[in-house]
């Protein structure tokens, strides 16, 4: 039994920051090295041209629907090696890869919940629920999804860029990341057991 016992990601990262900042830095580098290929591959799945001409960016529009712009989407895809906040169920992550842009999220997930588009009620229907299509075109949702590439299933979720890249990676990135975390933890324990830890400045 080690003298020092760490429970959970946050404790580990906190301990690393306080007592072994070099290990923390090393961990970040290793995590980035492990996850970056997935991010790069995911960025590559964003087509340069908008799949639909009407979705393309234009100089003026009163519409609020985010435009498709490859640069915006690729900028929105990235990774974070810092620990996340616990979610509502109490889970926190050691690292995260994300697709944060609005257009990117639409491209990633459109059709996941409603493969043929949202149920259509038209513009004259009452209410403000966003679960229904209020477009003039009853087939707008279906047409939108048809023009996008098919959804790809991965162990983490279903999508067209991030999840597709994750599925294509076949767990290599996850394995590398977990190995990096494990190695860091072992190193930290070793260091704690062999010498007294000193708080970093």
């Amino acid at each position: 039994m080690p003298n020092v016992e760490i429970r959970g990601n946050n404790d580990l990262r906190k301990a690393l920051r306080r007592f072994a900042p070099d290990l923390e830095k090393e961990l970040r580098v290793e995590l980035r090295k492990a996850l970056m290929p997935v991010v790069i591959q995911a960025r590559g799945f964003a087509p340069s041209m908008s799949p639909m001409s009407g979705w393309a960016a234009r100089s003026f529009s009163e519409a609020r629907f985010p435009f498709y712009e490859q640069s915006t989407i690729t900028k929105g895809i990235g990774l974070s090696t810092g620990p996340s906040k616990p979610n509502k169920n109490g889970f926190s992550a050691m690292a995260t890869i994300y697709n944060a842009s609005q257009a990117g999220a639409i491209y990633e997930t459109a059709g996941r919940k409603n493969p043929t588009g949202q149920p259509w009620v038209g513009p004259k229907a009452g209410g403000a629920s966003k679960k229904y299509s209020r477009s003039n075109n009853p087939k707008a949702g279906a047409q939108f999804i048809t023009n996008l590439p098919p959804l790809v299933f991965s162990k983490e979720g279903v999508g067209r860029m991030l999840y597709r890249a994750w599925a294509a990676n076949q767990g290599v990135a996850l394995g590398a990341a977990m190995t990096a975390i494990s190695n860091t933890k072992i190193k930290f324990y070793n260091r704690a057991n062999t010498s007294a830890l000193k708080k970093a400045a």
Partner: protein
């Protein structure tokens, strides 16, 4: 910690119960301390609120005083110092009527007074701005800004008020027309806005701000209840009354203390005051000094000066209005002039473009001119060779001089265009020289040296070279010697002339040229030689004819002997003898053979013609 919205993939997720534990712990603590807190809050909040209220009230009063001073200063700067008191009362009154805080009204008043130069106009526009801002939904300060801009002719902001007029129409209107239109469109909008719930809230806000700008809603509700007022308006009037009464009490207390304990001077300027109540009963203390200030001479003077200042300011405002109108007119004229100038410039540009086009064409013409000049010079050189008289020579020299002058002018233009000073000087010098020559020629005073130089420059040297002339004369001499070889002797080289066989005597003697003769002399010499050659030719013809006649006679004599006759070729000779010439074809059908071979070749496609031949 990083938290990205959107689509995420989490790596190494673990359940962290720490947060839940903390939440549970915090909740327990909260429930425990809430009871204690409840008791303390009631006590602490009251005292704290009162302290905060006091602080905020003092700050509000200081800010208000500062704003008043700034407005007074602004009015003074634009010559409306007399209107300061009037402005404050107007602002107070308007604040009550419109529920717009004096914090907004004062800057608006200052801005409008500065622009219009008239207190009356400023007040009028402030009232209009209230209606416009209520009707258009714009805030009051923005509306005042738009009006002040419109007053000086900048109608851009009026677009926001949606008057239903185009920008061009707005520009065409003067300010009076604009205000009339605004009054029509927004008439009564302010009153309607004030009658609404929002208006009541605004009034309430103004009233509370006047009492203290940070008073809380809860405290106000409490005051309404305590005062027993019937709604907000009742409370407002009570707050004002309360404030005035409180101020009066404070003033009276100050006066009383000053009168009882102050110096003689302070007592003298203390107004009368009333002390009521108490065991001593009521007592009115009369003013001890100059109490009624309004009747003093100084006060009357001040009133007069104020009146004069007011009149002056109004006159200045009218004058400024006129100036603004004139300025607007001048701006319109200037815009029109600018447009006209632009149009003229456009025309000019077009004309310049056309001129450049023509100039480009002119360059071609210019080149053609040069070509023609050269051709003309060449033509003159050819004509020079054919000239037979002095008059022709003079005419050619004149033409050549003109052409040279024209050529020099073109060269000078080129030099000027190239901005080469040395070339310009050279061309000018050359032109002057040629002009001089031309002038000389035209004055009929021919200087052969000048002409010679002119001819030398255009005629190839070998045409008038002495050697060439000598050679030509030598050839003529040989020809004449040849002629004289059979017929006689012609002495061309000096001494008395010889005689021909046919009796031509005294053949003219032509002296040999020395090479120092003038062109005219040379030409004359040439003429003489030509004449001599013609005479010799005629003589030769005559001799040939005589020989022919002798031959005919000889043939006739031969014909008498049956031989050759002069008419033998016509078949009608004198004698019976005939000369018969026979031609025998000994080719043995060679021609036919060749023709047949050619035809055969053509028939079988072996054409003997070369490729491309017809």
């Amino acid at each position: 910690m990083v938290q990205k919205s959107g689509v995420n993939v989490h790596i190494g997720s673990e359940f962290d119960a720490k947060g839940f534990k903390q939440a549970q712990s915090a909740l327990a603590k909260l429930s425990g301390s809430a009871k204690k807190l409840a008791g303390a809050v009631g006590l602490a909040y009251g005292a704290k609120a009162l302290v905060a209220y006091g602080k905020a009230s003092m700050k509000a009063a200081a800010d208000d005083q500062k704003a008043q001073k700034i407005l007074a200063s602004n009015l003074k700067n634009v010559g409306l110092a007399y209107a300061s008191v009037d402005a404050e009362s107007f602002i107070k009154s308007m604040e009550k009527q419109t529920a717009i805080l004096d914090d907004q009204l004062r800057p608006a008043y200052g801005q409008l007074a500065q622009v219009t130069g008239s207190a009356t106009k400023a007040q009028d526009l402030m009232q209009l701005a209230f209606d416009v801002s209520s009707g258009s939904g714009l805030d009051y300060a923005s509306t005042v800004d738009i009006l002040s801009q419109a007053y000086v002719g900048n109608t851009k902001g009026l677009k926001q008020l949606n008057l239903g007029l185009t920008q061009a129409e707005l520009k065409a209107m003067d300010f009076e027309q604009i205000t009339t239109k605004l009054r029509q469109n927004f008439a009564g909008a302010g009153g309607v806005a004030l009658d609404s719930y929002a208006g009541s809230m605004a009034k309430l806000s103004v009233a509370t701000a006047n009492a203290s700008e940070t008073i809380g809603t809860a405290l106000l509700d409490a005051l309404i209840k305590v005062s027993g007022s019937n709604g907000v308006d009742g409370l407002i009037s009570k707050i004002d009354t309360l404030a005035s009464a409180f101020a009066s009490v404070v003033t009276q207390v100050g006066n009383a203390v000053s009168a009882l304990t102050g110096t003689a001077t302070q007592k003298a300027f203390s107004p009368g005051y009333f002390v009521g109540g108490g065991r001593a009963g009521s007592k009115t203390v009369a003013p001890t000094g100059a109490g009624n200030m309004a009747l003093s001479v100084l006060s009357q003077d001040t009133q007069k000066s104020d009146l004069a200042a007011k009149k002056k300011a109004e006159l200045d405002a009218i004058k400024r209005n006129k100036e603004l109108a004139a300025l607007a007119k001048s701006q319109a004229k200037s815009a029109k002039d600018t447009l006209k100038a632009k149009q003229e410039q456009a025309k000019l540009d077009k004309a310049i473009a056309a001129g450049e086009l023509a100039l480009n064409k002119g360059v071609d013409i210019f080149d053609m001119e040069k070509i023609q000049l050269n051709a003309a010079l060449i033509g003159q050189a050819e004509a020079l060779g054919k000239a037979t008289s002095g008059a022709q020579l003079l005419a050619i020299a004149n033409d050549v001089a003109r052409l040279k002058v024209k050529q020099d002018m073109l060269a000078l233009e080129d030099a000027i265009a190239s901005k080469d000073t040395a070339a310009i000087e050279r061309a000018t010098k050359k032109l002057n020289e040629d002009l001089k020559i031309l002038g000389t020629l035209q004055n009929q005073s021919i200087k052969l040296t000048d002409i010679k130089s002119l001819l030398d420059s255009i005629v190839p040297k070998d045409l008038i070279d002495q050697q060439n002339l000598d050679d030509a004369l030598e050839k003529i001499k040989k020809m004449m010697l040849l002629l004289a070889g059979g017929l006689g002797t012609i002495n061309l080289t000096g001494g008395p002339g010889g005689s021909t066989k046919f009796g031509i005597k005294d053949v003219p003697k032509i002296e040999k040229l020395t090479g120092k003769e003038s062109i005219g002399a040379i030409l004359e010499y040439s003429d003489a030689v030509t004449t001599l050659a013609n005479v010799m030719a005629d003589t030769l013809d005559a001799q040939n004819y005589a020989d022919f006649l002798s031959l005919v006679e000889f043939q006739r004599k031969l014909g008498d002997f049956g031989g050759y006759s002069a008419n033998m070729n016509t078949g009608a000779g004198y004698g019976a003898g005939k000369v018969i010439v026979e031609i025998n074809d000994n080719t043995s059908g060679l021609i036919e053979v060749v023709q047949t071979a050619v035809q055969e070749n053509n028939r079988f496609g072996n054409n003997l013609n070369f490729a491309g031949a017809l």
